[in-house]
C-alpha cells in the first residue's frame, strides 16, 4: 500500500514538473537570450544559458530613445501600456457596473431587450467593427490620445453580464432594508452594492487589465505618434529597426517581451490574493 502510494505521488509530481517545464522553458529561453548580444542569437539561435549583458540590455531599452522616430524609451511605453491597461479595466468596470445596475434595479421600457442587445454585441469582436470604430474616433479628433485609446473599448458586454448576474443574486430584502433606512438609488449603489461587488471587481480587473495591456491592433491603428506607443507595439518596432547594416536587435526585443510580461503577472499575483480573500470573507 505504502509503496504504491509513494509511487503514485512520484508519478503525480513528475507530471506536474513536466507541465511546469513545458510552460516555463520558452519563457526562460527568452530571458536567457535577452542577456546575450544580437550576433550570438542570430548565429546560434535561442540560448539556454545566461550571459553577461543583462544590465546593458535592460538599462538600454529602458532609457535609450528608440523606435522609428528615435523618440520613445521602453519606460515610456510601459507607462503608456499601464495607462491603457488600467484605464481599460477601470473604465470597463465602471461602465458595465452602472449598466447592470440600471438593468437590474430599474424597470424601464425595453430593459430586457436592451440587455440582450448589449449581450449580442459579444458576438461582434473589435476586429469586425474596427473600421467604423476607427472612423468615429478619427472624426472626433481622438487619434493619438489616451482617451481615444481607451474610451472606444470600455463598453463591455461580458462585464455587464457578470454584474447583472451578481446583482440578481443579491437578496431583494437588502434593497428593501436600504429603502426603509432612507438610502436612495445612488446611496444604495455606493454604500451597499459597490462594497458587496469588491470580489467581482477584482476578478474583472485582473482579466480586463491583461486584455487591455495586450491590446495590439487598436493601439496600432490609433497611434501614429510614437509617444503614445505601448510596449506590445514596441517589441515589434524594435525588431523592425533595420537601418542600414545594423542587425535586428533580438536581445532588446526579448528584453521588451520580458518587461511586458512583468506588470500583468504582478497584477494577477496581487489581485488574486485579494480576490481569494474576498471569496473567503464574502457573505451576501
Amino acid at each position: 500500500m505504502k509503496v504504491l502510494w509513494v509511487r503514485y505521488q512520484l508519478l503525480n509530481h513528475l507530471l506536474l514538473i513536466l507541465g511546469v517545464a513545458f510552460l516555463a522553458l520558452p519563457l526562460w529561453m527568452v530571458f536567457a537570450s535577452s542577456t546575450h548580444d544580437p550576433a550570438t542569437i542570430i548565429r546560434d539561435g535561442m540560448q539556454l544559458g545566461l550571459s553577461d549583458q543583462f544590465f546593458e540590455t535592460y538599462l538600454g531599452v529602458l532609457t535609450e530613445k528608440k523606435g522609428f522616430t528615435e523618440q520613445v524609451t521602453a519606460s515610456m511605453m510601459m507607462i503608456n501600456s499601464m495607462i491603457l491597461g488600467v484605464g481599460f479595466a477601470v473604465g470597463k468596470i465602471i461602465v458595465s457596473m452602472t449598466a447592470a445596475y440600471a438593468i437590474v434595479y430599474f424597470r424601464f421600457p425595453l430593459g430586457t431587450l436592451l440587455f440582450w442587445i448589449i449581450f449580442t454585441t459579444l458576438l461582434l469582436p473589435l476586429e469586425v467593427r474596427i473600421i467604423p470604430s476607427y472612423k468615429v474616433v478619427a472624426d472626433l479628433g481622438m487619434l493619438n490620445s489616451y482617451s481615444g485609446l481607451i474610451i472606444p473599448l470600455i463598453a463591455s458586454a461580458t462585464g455587464t453580464f457578470y454584474f447583472r448576474q451578481f446583482f440578481r443574486s443579491v437578496p431583494d430584502e437588502l434593497l428593501e432594508a436600504a429603502k426603509l433606512d432612507g438610502a436612495g438609488a445612488w446611496k444604495f449603489f455606493i454604500d451597499i452594492l459597490l462594497p458587496l461587488s469588491r470580489t467581482m471587481m477584482a476578478a474583472l480587473f485582473i482579466i480586463m487589465f491583461v486584455v487591455g495591456w495586450n491590446q495590439y491592433l487598436w493601439p496600432l491603428l490609433m497611434t501614429t505618434d510614437e509617444s503614445y506607443s505601448t510596449i506590445v507595439l514596441g517589441i515589434k518596432s524594435v525588431m523592425q529597426t533595420i537601418d542600414g547594416n545594423r542587425l535586428p536587435e533580438y536581445n532588446r526585443g526579448f528584453a521588451l517581451a520580458i518587461l511586458a510580461l512583468i506588470p500583468p503577472v504582478l497584477i494577477v499575483i496581487l489581485f488574486q490574493r485579494w480576490f481569494i480573500k474576498g471569496l473567503l470573507e464574502s457573505d451576501k
Binding site: 437578496p171 430584502e173 428593501e176 432594508a177 426603509l180 446611496k187 454604500d191 464574502s282 457573505d283
Partner: protein, 350 residues
C-alpha cells in the same frame, strides 16, 4: 401617539393574484398586533403595504390621521425586521445600526448614544465591531431588532422574525420581543404563521385567511369565541374537533346525540367545534367512545377516540391518568362550550 388605520385595503399583483381582499383594521397605540394565518394568506403582502414596499391597489392607509398610501418608505417612519434579517453583510454591527440615522443626518453624538443604548438593551455591547457573518442566528436577529430600535420609529414591523431560529431560541426570543415591546411601548405589527407564537406574543390577533380578515381580538377572545370555523381550527393546539350536525327546533343533533338549548339558532345544518379540553369524563354521560391511541405529553395526555358511528375525537386530559388503548370511556360536553358554525358560510352562530 400612533394609530394606524387600514380602510378596505386591497392588493392585486401585476400577475393578477388578488393577495389582499379588502381589510379594515385599526392598530392602537403601543399595542402589539399579530397578523396570523396560513402560508400564502397575504400577511407579508399586507405588512409590506404598510411599510411602503408594495404599492396599495385600493383603500386608504392612515397613520395618525394622515393618508400615507403614496409616502416613500423612508418617510413613513416605520422600521421593519425581515425574516432573513437583511443585515448589510459588509458593515459592522455598529454601522448596520447607525446607517439609517446617518442617512437622516442625525448628529454623530446622538447616533452613538442611540446605538450604545440599543446595544445595551439587546446585549450586543460586545459585538458592535463584528460583521454579520461572525454572528449566530440569534445574535443576527437581535442586530436586526437593534437596527429598528435605534430609529425610534412610530411603528415596528416584524415579518416572521423568528422563523429562522431553532425551537428553543425561538421560544426565548418570543419572550424577549414581548418584554422589549412592553418596555419601549412602540406600536408594533408582528407577522407569523405559527399560532402559538401569535397567542403568546400578541396583545391582539388579526387572523387572516385568503386575503381576508377573519377575526380580530385578544388571544383569549379569538380562542374562546372563534368567529368562524377557519379561526377555530387554525387557532389552538391540539386542533379543535369539528363534526357535522344539525339544529332542529332549538335542539342540536350531532353524531347520534341530542342537545337542547339552541333555540336562538334557526333550523339548519351546522358544524360543531369542540375543544379537546372541553370534554368532561363522567360515568353517567351519554357519549361513549373507544380509545384508539394515547399520546403522553407529560403534563397532559391526548386521547384519540372513535365514536360508535366511526367519527374521530381528540380529547385532552391531565397527564398520568392511566387510560389504555381499547378502553371505553363516556364523556359529555357543556353546551356553552360548544362552537357552532354555519355549514354554508362557516361563520359563528352562537
Amino acid at each position: 401617539m400612533t394609530t394606524l388605520t387600514l380602510n378596505s385595503l386591497q392588493k392585486t399583483y401585476a400577475n393578477g393574484t388578488h393577495a389582499v381582499r379588502g381589510i379594515d383594521l385599526e392598530i392602537f397605540d403601543g399595542e402589539l398586533t399579530v397578523f396570523v394565518g396560513p402560508s400564502g394568506c397575504g400577511k407579508s403582502t399586507l405588512l409590506r403595504m404598510i411599510a411602503g414596499l408594495e404599492e396599495i391597489t385600493s383603500g386608504d392607509l392612515m397613520l395618525d390621521g394622515s393618508r400615507i398610501n403614496d409616502v416613500e418608505p423612508a418617510h413613513r417612519d416605520v422600521a421593519m425586521v425581515f425574516q432573513n434579517y437583511a443585515l448589510y453583510p459588509h458593515m459592522t454591527v455598529r454601522r448596520n445600526m447607525s446607517y439609517a440615522l446617518q442617512n437622516r443626518k442625525v448628529p454623530k453624538a446622538e447616533i452613538d448614544r442611540r446605538v450604545v443604548e440599543a446595544a445595551r438593551i439587546l446585549q450586543l455591547d460586545e459585538l458592535l465591531e463584528r460583521k454579520p457573518a461572525q454572528l449566530s442566528g440569534g445574535q443576527r436577529q437581535r442586530v436586526a431588532m437593534g437596527r429598528a430600535i435605534v430609529r425610534e420609529p412610530k411603528l415596528f414591523l416584524f415579518d416572521e422574525p423568528l422563523s429562522n431560529l431553532d425551537a428553543q431560541l425561538r421560544a426565548q426570543m418570543r419572550v424577549d420581543i414581548r418584554k422589549l415591546q412592553r418596555q419601549l411601548r412602540v406600536t408594533s405589527i408582528f407577522v407569523t404563521h405559527d399560532q402559538i407564537e401569535a397567542m403568546t406574543v400578541g396583545d391582539r390577533l388579526a387572523v387572516l385567511n385568503n386575503g381576508e380578515l377573519e377575526q380580530i381580538g385578544t388571544p383569549m377572545e379569538v380562542y374562546s369565541k372563534p368567529a368562524s370555523e377557519f379561526v377555530a381550527s387554525f387557532i389552538g393546539s391540539p386542533r379543535i374537533n369539528i363534526v357535522s350536525g344539525e339544529v332542529k327546533a332549538g335542539t342540536l343533533h350531532v353524531d347520534g346525540f341530542e342537545l337542547p338549548g339552541f333555540s336562538q339558532i334557526s333550523d339548519q345544518p351546522v358544524k360543531v367545534g369542540i375543544r379537546p379540553e372541553d370534554f368532561v369524563l363522567e360515568s353517567t354521560a351519554k357519549m361513549s367512545l373507544q380509545i384508539d391511541l394515547v399520546e403522553e405529553l407529560g403534563s397532559d395526555e391526548l386521547l384519540y377516540c372513535v365514536s360508535p358511528t366511526g367519527l374521530d375525537y381528540r380529547i385532552r386530559r391531565p397527564g398520568g391518568s392511566g387510560h389504555k388503548v381499547g378502553e371505553n370511556i363516556t364523556v359529555s360536553v357543556i353546551s356553552e362550550k360548544l362552537h357552532l358554525f354555519s355549514s354554508q358560510s362557516g361563520k359563528r352562530l352562537n
